[in-house]
Symmetry: C2
Subunit: 673 residues, 2 copies
Amino acid sequence: MAAPVFNTNTDSLPVNPDLQKERATASFNVLELTHILDGGAEITKRRKELEALILSDPAFSSKDLLYLTKSEQYENALLRSVKLVQWKDKYKWSQEDVAMAQQINNSTEAITLHTDMFIPALQRLTSEEQRAKWLPLALKHNIIGTYAQTELGHGTNLRNLETTATFDAKMDEFVLNTPKITSMKWWPGALGKSSTHAIVLAQLVIAGKHHGLQAFIIQLRSLEDHTPMPGITVGDIGPKLGLNYVDNGFLILKNVRIPRENMLMGNASVSRDGQFKQLKSDKTNYSTMMYVRVMITRWAFGCLAGSVMIAMRYSAVRRQLYIDPKAGEVQILDYQTQQYKLFPALASAFAIFFTSQKLISDYNRELQNLIKGDKELLAEYHSVTSAMKAVCSDIMTDHISALRRSLGGHGYMNLSGISTAMQNSLSLVTVEGENTVLYQQTARHLLKQVARAMSGGTLTRSVAFLGQNLDSVPQLDSSEDCRNVHLVLKLYQKMAKRILVQAGTLLQTDLMKGLPEHEAWNKNQVTLVRAAKAYSLLHLVQCNVEGVEGLRKSVSPELVAALRRLCCLFALYYLESNAGLFMQTEAVSPSQLDIVRSTQMELLSEIRPDAVALADAVDMPDSGHKSVLGCYDGNVYERMYAAALGEPMNKTQVHPSYYKHLRGMIKGTASKL
Amino acid sequence: MAAPVFNTNTDSLPVNPDLQKERATASFNVLELTHILDGGAEITKRRKELEALILSDPAFSSKDLLYLTKSEQYENALLRSVKLVQWKDKYKWSQEDVAMAQQINNSTEAITLHTDMFIPALQRLTSEEQRAKWLPLALKHNIIGTYAQTELGHGTNLRNLETTATFDAKMDEFVLNTPKITSMKWWPGALGKSSTHAIVLAQLVIAGKHHGLQAFIIQLRSLEDHTPMPGITVGDIGPKLGLNYVDNGFLILKNVRIPRENMLMGNASVSRDGQFKQLKSDKTNYSTMMYVRVMITRWAFGCLAGSVMIAMRYSAVRRQLYIDPKAGEVQILDYQTQQYKLFPALASAFAIFFTSQKLISDYNRELQNLIKGDKELLAEYHSVTSAMKAVCSDIMTDHISALRRSLGGHGYMNLSGISTAMQNSLSLVTVEGENTVLYQQTARHLLKQVARAMSGGTLTRSVAFLGQNLDSVPQLDSSEDCRNVHLVLKLYQKMAKRILVQAGTLLQTDLMKGLPEHEAWNKNQVTLVRAAKAYSLLHLVQCNVEGVEGLRKSVSPELVAALRRLCCLFALYYLESNAGLFMQTEAVSPSQLDIVRSTQMELLSEIRPDAVALADAVDMPDSGHKSVLGCYDGNVYERMYAAALGEPMNKTQVHPSYYKHLRGMIKGTASKL
């Protein structure tokens, strides 16, 4: 293509004046908030050092990444994986550095599963001897591994996985098989093309007797030339809505023989003579599962915050139509409807942030007790993490979808950054526990707690409200009341308690009528999920309130005030979204709902002057988010034009298909059918 | 790749027994419903003839379409466009045939804009002389045209388009220019690579005086070799969330000269001496705009119905976990939560269908009056079509997103069909009037009608309820009441009327306080949009009720009963979703909401036996929807495996990037940084 008609060199352009104005008038210090989101000024500093290294490398930041095919995306992600490993070794990165590097890269590497699941599983599930053999190989990346659990026919119901590992006593080997098409391993990341080894979950069979699911380490590909080993059929599962840089794979095993020692024997063992022994139950597995769910809330924050930042900046730059027809076109951020799309999303990002922070600190503080098997604590933490994984990923994806729409037509382009963020993040509602299933797990736990509360039993922290008398909670009678988040929180508690009690009563009524428990459960499934969601929202509001109030002493009053406005908006927004539940439980009356609405509208106006600064605090560099619409300098249109010039179809003035299809039609010389 | 390990030849397999069972037990005749959706048995027959022709052609049905790059997608879509033109000529297709062929092909051609906008605009905007010159060329496809309106900086605010057409009196020519980067034409379909001509909207300037937006026909590319004409810079705008088979384009004009006759002079003219004359206002333009919005409701039905069909079949085939742990794994369609995802989506598809049908028949019946400029009628139809375009596309995309999630992890794969449907359909919420803008247009009209109702004026059909006394509407006191859709409809009217009156009052109060009108409007924007949405739902419910009741005499009672259940579920589902509004307006009390909920759950159980049959009636052939999960025979897993084998990355056992990036790391021989 010829030279650009308009200037596309954004380095030569000043920051968009609308953004300059927004930044000049913020009520608080942006950097102070950035430090909070990073976890401290030192961490911000370190992040920026790592960003400078990573994002100056074209593999991470090239503009051409927008135009890659699936296969090229994979190749590029593999290169990123390799680079990160090399940098880690060269610069002796700490574990925190590695995590931060992943975060900077939005985890868009091909073989994250090697580090995130294969190595932890090796540490967790092996005997000491096995650990000594395998771990160094994995840590040095002389083998690349994945964790192959789900099958074509079974994702949620793991107990019914069908892959078999049959002990051959004569040869002292296990023989692994994929008996049916539904038994194919399907989905594991890095399985399709990258991994040389896999930890495979399979039904252990010894002399015809089943011993449940066990983990086996299997070599998939030659360490010489990467070709699949005998009996192994392996490949990529094909194009996905997002995450196409990962080679999610399938695996078929046909009489694959492995030595007995390749069963991971940390928790169970099979002896030379075929004796199966359960050594201990795998509680660490449980804790890993919870940890991954906590990390998903953290990712949910990152995805949502990045998208909000993009949408906010673009909405400050984009001018369209008028509020006052006599004045000029306005920044679309000045429309109340636009604010009502963006600010609740911003508020949700912070609510998820504080919730995630609380979950992580609880996890770190109580990890030992969890592993020791403090049953009460474990059950509560499991219930909370299930609920938070579900509700945070739900809220995040809902808002990202709405943010994408808020950009108008341009939000439909990949250069917006949000369309890609949306596609990638949509995986989070089904991975690591499908959300509807998770809400039910939480509902089960909660109903037990309701019963306990009714019989006067002691309650753990997150359900303490079930034991409180919330009947006489004060009413929301003014905008001031609405801004009292502690009062609003009480109303959430009242609502959640009554919804939970009501759900329990409905279930109980059906049981009393003689319905078997499982039928009664299914008959009330929608009600139970609704109750778990109500509780989840309460928990989010609570974490948000505690998080913001916890900053009161260490942070400037202006920033606390700004965060309080968001905290309040979050609580009121979801109160209104669930007005039916609040009114039904008499937590809010119809006329009070009007006050909730008008207070929200007041808050939009109050948040407006800080909106760009609050979003700026997310501080994702342009080369990281890769959004043309959300760049720091706001030179949106120049970047859009530049991006279009990079589209591969523009490499030639005339597309090759013209000669094949169009020319004949235009010239009337096309061959007849 | 080697031969498949498992059978992937689904032709050799029987229909999945679960689907057989579902189909055998339906309460009504599926074909009867298919005929209704098609518009009659004859049309179904004709559709199947066209499907047999079109979908047997690999350009339309090849499995490889799943794996194409953007450029290949475009090339394939261009081929489809050419084929459809050739078939149309060869078989002398009627206009209905052409529309049906497009529908069969989900409009996935590259140059639909030529037929859908360029030719209609030529018919509408030209003088007789111009029509005689251009129309035959366009109809014979000797020129390919697009309609270039929106610019980088202006989509919604068309009056501020910046492209200029300056009359050069000396040369008797117009000189077209793109003065600024924001003035680039951006988005028009088929502009990037396909079109030889464009109708360009530009500000007419004669001797320094502006005469508003006029349409000009411009040659973009040589008819000899397709290279751009002098002064023309044109290209593809780059990758999008969906619709990547269309070459949406940008266009920059630099002193592009066209003869004076290339201004389309049907509605305005410029004489040789530079006299501008407005001949008539372009009312047909208005009617075209409304027609396109109506067609969007029709597409919304098609997209949603296809996705429901896929999700329903898969949910009947997929078995996972248990209701009764002693019995086997259940069809996931038996879970109440799954039903509550799928059945409201199904019900919504039918509600949109009946609404769209009503809009089309109103349009056809009253087209002449609309064109003649029956102001009342025009304002009402404009308000209704704006609202229905917005609400139908909103509801459709919400449900498609939820349906995709309802498929669990496998819904994340493109082979699910729904992920692609979702990506494509998401364009409909912003094109042809961004939905938030449209709701406001409707709100403006509705508030005028509220004022008229209050002053006792006569009201048009769709707002007649505003003149009714709805204070003493009966209450919902039983499941039976909930099933009385006429009663529920009254409650929607009561709710909508009160919400509208309240919105008007809030606006009025702010005006009384002395706020300028535009400020008062913006201050109440969220409320006004909410009110327009409330009205939109009422209108959908009303069209749905009328549509189903209208079938009573011509259709079997079993089918009417089945459709009534869906009609009722739709009304109750959106009542509950908007419970806050219904309770606030005293249309429903808190205890009544419980009855609404339990009635919905009853309806789920009653719909369950017919669920697959209702979805089957959509009757989209497998080669049309291309969903591996939603195929008629339900042999889901075989098709998934077959699809994975087609993934380009599986063409070689070892991916080329292994040699570049992975090998060195694994062998420890990678070059150091």
